[in-house]
Amino acid sequence: MNEILVVKGLKKYFPIVSSTLLHKRVNYLKAVDNISFSLEKGEILGLVGESGSGKSTTAYVIVGIYSPTAGEILFKGRNIGVAATKRPLEVKREIAIVFQDPGTSLNPQHNIRQILSTPLRVHKIVSKKQLNSKIEELLELVELPRSYVYKQPRAIGGGERQMVAIARALATNPSLIVLDEPTSALDVSVQAKVINKLLDLQKEFGLSYLFITHDLSLMRNLATRIAIMYLGKLNELAPAADFFQNPLHPYTQMLISSVPLVSKAEERIRQKKIISTGEIPSPVDVPPGCGFNTRCPFKTEICLKIDPEIVEVTPGHYVRCHLYQR
């Protein structure tokens, strides 16, 4: 049993109340609808999807920002799928998160010392005397100069700010870090630096990453396994190499065809071209049957009526599509 995180049938619904004078109607926005996956120790699982697909909600439920509507989250064999406030401090220490935009996830009124000392204080990682040396150690980990201790987030560059956010996540010696699009606000040359640092840290501390992104090319170079989300459900889950060489779900094929490429060698990989059409429907009113049926070029009668189950097509390669049902 090497699994650090197991998610079983996770659901997160947000109620939308529309009331008139006499009637009160409650609809549900199914942000995450019955997804299951697992994350092994030392693994990088990529969670990919468009905006509105529920990937960030999944991350927030795992970290404990939202409590799940239904389903289990097992962290090291222990169910943590309870309301966030009831989660033991010990578990909160073990799971950290890095948000997308370091401009808004770091308190602009605090300097970097204050930002880094908060988790150290809350989780009583070090004594007061050792606080300074621990903060220096953290800055060193992300290769920021010591002189940054009294700087404020706005005084440093975007890439460096994200490095501070990473140092803050590392402060509590976590074993799982959820990275919610950590580089999508950065330029490619800075992104490369941040990603390299993340990979080094992962090797050094044996961390597991749940890496959320919409950038498939980035995933190809990072993840051990990739999961695709669409309208709150998992559409495909496969090991990285298999995922790109043999994408099965029509949506995955459409996504890969849409990635802008920079070399001929890459074009050879994406030979099947599915032209992208349509848009992701609103998660409040999901079409009946398979959620992708509004955009799918291969849709048949059954897709309009019945939502397919996720099946294992080849070992480790799961897909949720009627084309592959047995």
């Binding site: 490369a192 849409s258 059409t277």
Partner: protein, 335 residues
């Protein structure tokens, strides 16, 4: 070729006045667009891409100072032309699509109203004339929305921007830009806020419209992939100067400038070759930019002369220009 030239930017330098002094952003930028040609201007955040195109329409913010240079659109220098000519340019010559469609559409008017305003201003001889019949405006607006392949254009005319998705809003902006005949379309990061599948659709739409209407296109982007799949010719920009210019294929086959090379290597590839190291250091401070080549502090191949002089633009192979001391121009090679 000379009569084919639609837009020509010559040695344009632009600075911004700020509290601490003067930010010397654009440094002698040269750029050319021929009729019916698609070019891309690629560079990272803060390198002056938007400043360059804003000076084409003369919509720079008040703090900006144009230090020198010319922007010639159809043999007329925009920077020295009066209000009448400028009005003409904005109404008939150049259309622009901005990065954030939410911010460039007004939330309190319907899509139809906003389209009608643009069409009325663009087609009339002076901006205040109101001789257009409602029915004509309606017809043109409907046609524009259909061209932008928006579903159900009749309903779209009566909806407000916030009722549409991000991709549709950007399509409305495209429809607005191209509702009336133009000669040059400037698209400033039109797909940055969109998802990949929608990005693909919007880029395809822009490409098709540019081809059908026989327009020239300046596409500003920070994504090399987007530039490669859209443009015929690419300008790479770094810290306010153009560092390399080549036909798209030449640039990706044989990037010359150390910055272009590092940038291409930084892009994660689908082939899974791993992640490159990135580029060390950061953009120079525009208050006191380096005297010589602006990339010198981050360049791994820098030589002493790079610190002192700004490298001139040299034609290294036919049609492939680079601004770097490491390369010899065609004439220098012949000697």
């Amino acid at each position: 070729m000379a009569h084919n030239k639609l837009l020509h930017i010559e040695n344009l330098s632009v600075s911004y006045r700020v509290y601490q002094g003067v930010l010397k952003v654009l440094q002698e930028v040269n750029l050319e667009v021929n009729r019916g040609e698609k070019i891309a201007l690629v560079g990272e955040t803060g390198c002056g891409k938007t400043t360059t195109v804003k000076s084409i329409l003369k919509i720079l913010p008040r703090q900006a100072i144009v230090n020198g240079g010319k922007v010639i659109f159809k043999e007329e220098d925009i920077l020295r032309s009066g209000d009448v000519d400028l009005n003409y340019l904005r109404r008939k010559g150049v259309a622009m699509i901005f990065q954030d469609p939410t911010a460039s559409l007004s939330p309190i008017f319907t899509v139809g109203d906003q389209l009608a305003t643009v069409i009325r201003a663009s087609l009339s001889e002076n901006a205040n004339s109101s001789k257009f019949k409602k029915i004509d405006l309606h017809k043109i607006a409907l046609k524009a929305l259909q061209d932008a392949s928006l579903p159900d254009p009749e309903r779209m005319l009566h909806s407000y921007p916030f009722q549409l998705s991000g991709g549709m809003r950007q399509r409305v902006c495209i429809a607005m830009a191209l509702a009336t005949p133009r000669e040059l379309l400037i698209a400033d990061e039109p797909t940055t806020n969109l998802d990949v599948t929608i990005q693909d659709q919007v880029l395809r739409l822009i490409k098709n419209l540019v081809k059908d209407k026989d327009l020239a296109l300046i596409l500003i982007t920070h994504s090399l992939g987007v530039a490669r799949e859209t443009a015929d010719r690419i300008y790479i920009m770094y810290a306010g100067s153009i560092v390399e210019m080549a036909k798209t294929n030449d640039l990706f086959k044989n990037p010359l400038h150390p910055y272009s090379l590092a940038l291409i290597n930084s892009v994660p590839k689908l082939t899974g070759e791993g992640i490159s190291k990135g580029i060390p250091g950061h953009l120079p401070d525009y208050l006191n930019p380096p005297l010589g080549c602006r990339f010198e502090p981050r360049c791994s191949k820098s030589i002493p002369i790079c610190k002192k002089n700004k490298p001139p633009m040299k034609e290294v192979t036919p049609g492939h220009f680079v601004s770097c001391f490491l390369y010899n121009s065609l004439e220098e090679k012949n000697e």
